[in-house]
């Protein structure tokens, strides 16, 4: 793995983050980050799907007629997601129950199509695969941050464990902020992350 390949993984984590810089995948990041656990599950599934679909599309890229490329990409992504879901349903039923609502969200996630269009269609399979992993993780890191903050301050728990109750915060008058669980708060938090990121990295300012 040379330095170019490493960049494919590290860039999406920071200065080319799919959520905070490219502003893709916002819908699903609102929907699944009310708690930490679904956020992590979603992050992992998107990473798997982006990486594999990038790999497959990259392998097919020379044979795909440009005029029908979008629908070809869509078919590959959907087939992949359904396939994974079927296997999960048969072998790890609990995980598939958790994923049920995300499956549709993964297919329509702009990051998947965005990476196929922008990268996999014009690059070799190995870099395309790494690009998928990188972007999935870049998406995931934001999801995990949102899930962490929203679950901790919205419910006082983390991964279901009652942190604030154990710390005894409720006894001294602390109350959970229900507003943080609502979807708008996820948007505001994403805004705050973008703000912090751009203050630290002037290159990103338009």
């Amino acid at each position: 793995m040379n330095s170019n390949h490493k960049k494919l993984i590290t860039n999406p984590l920071g200065k080319n983050n799919p959520i905070t810089v490219q502003v893709l995948g916002i819908c699903s990041c609102l929907a699944v980050t009310a708690q930490l656990k679904p956020a992590v599950v979603m992050a992992l599934s998107v990473t798997v799907v982006v990486a594999l679909s990038n790999l497959i599309i990259s392998l097919m890229r020379r044979s795909i007629p440009p005029r029908i490329r979008i629908i070809v990409q869509l078919v590959v992504v959907s087939a992949l997601v359904i396939l994974v879901n079927q296997v999960l349903m048969a072998f790890v039923y609990d995980v598939s129950k958790q994923l049920s609502v995300y499956v549709g969200l993964i297919i329509t996630n702009c990051i998947v199509m965005g990476r196929l269009e922008a990268f996999a269609m014009s690059n070799r399979p190995w870099p395309a695969f790494l690009d998928g992993i990188g972007n999935g993780l870049g998406y995931g890191i934001i999801l995990v941050i949102l899930g962490f903050v929203r679950e901790l301050f919205g419910r006082g728990t983390l991964w279901g464990y009652p942190v604030f109750e154990k710390l005894g915060l409720y006894n001294i008058g602390y109350e959970n902020n229900g507003f943080i669980i609502m979807a708008p708060m996820a948007l505001i938090l994403v805004g705050v992350i973008i703000w912090i990121q751009r203050t630290r990295n002037k290159d990103l300012c338009e």
Binding site: A31, A34, R67, A79, Q86, M89, A90, S100, V101
Partner: protein
Amino acid sequence: MRQFSNKYMLLYALGLAAVVALLLTAVATGLKSRQQANVRNEQMQQLLATIGVKAERDGVESVYRQYFTDELDVATEGEAPLKLYLYEKDGSRGYVIPTVGNGLWGKVYANVALADDFNTIVGITFSHDSETPGLGAEITSEAFCSQFIGKKILDDAGRVVSVAVMKHADAANPHQVDAISGGTMTSNGVSAMLADELQRYQEYINAQRKEADNEQ
């Protein structure tokens, strides 16, 4: 860039569709029996959880047979028969009524365990197809379900009034429980489901209660 003829494009699309269709069909058919077994096992686990019995997925069947004595199909006029599960636990008998309704994004389900007076809720479990995690999906949480225990579905005259899921519920009122903040649409769906589905058992409940009265 390479030029592609229309014929190539058409064949490519057809070929891709055929390959994907075959692949998905093969996988779905091949895994069907495993998936159905999973669903059935989970249903039994849910029913057991409703009456407060925890069971591992492996071997759930034998535990199920231990507690659930019968499954009834109550005939109704012009409608699909009503399902009813009979259980016996620690010497007391009761009934579990399965219900299904609409949440915000998809179907929601509940199993309502009643004591043998057909009135007091002794346990309830919820499941759903696609409610929002962290919000509507919280209907499956222990905190939400435990509110229902001890609530009544009948009023003093023996009419089914169900239990309403609502804002600012009065904990002392036997027909009210608190809704989920951020999950109002799902909560409303659950409320409507319980009211509609339990209503359908009215005649059967009347008949059973009358019979019980006569015996006394």
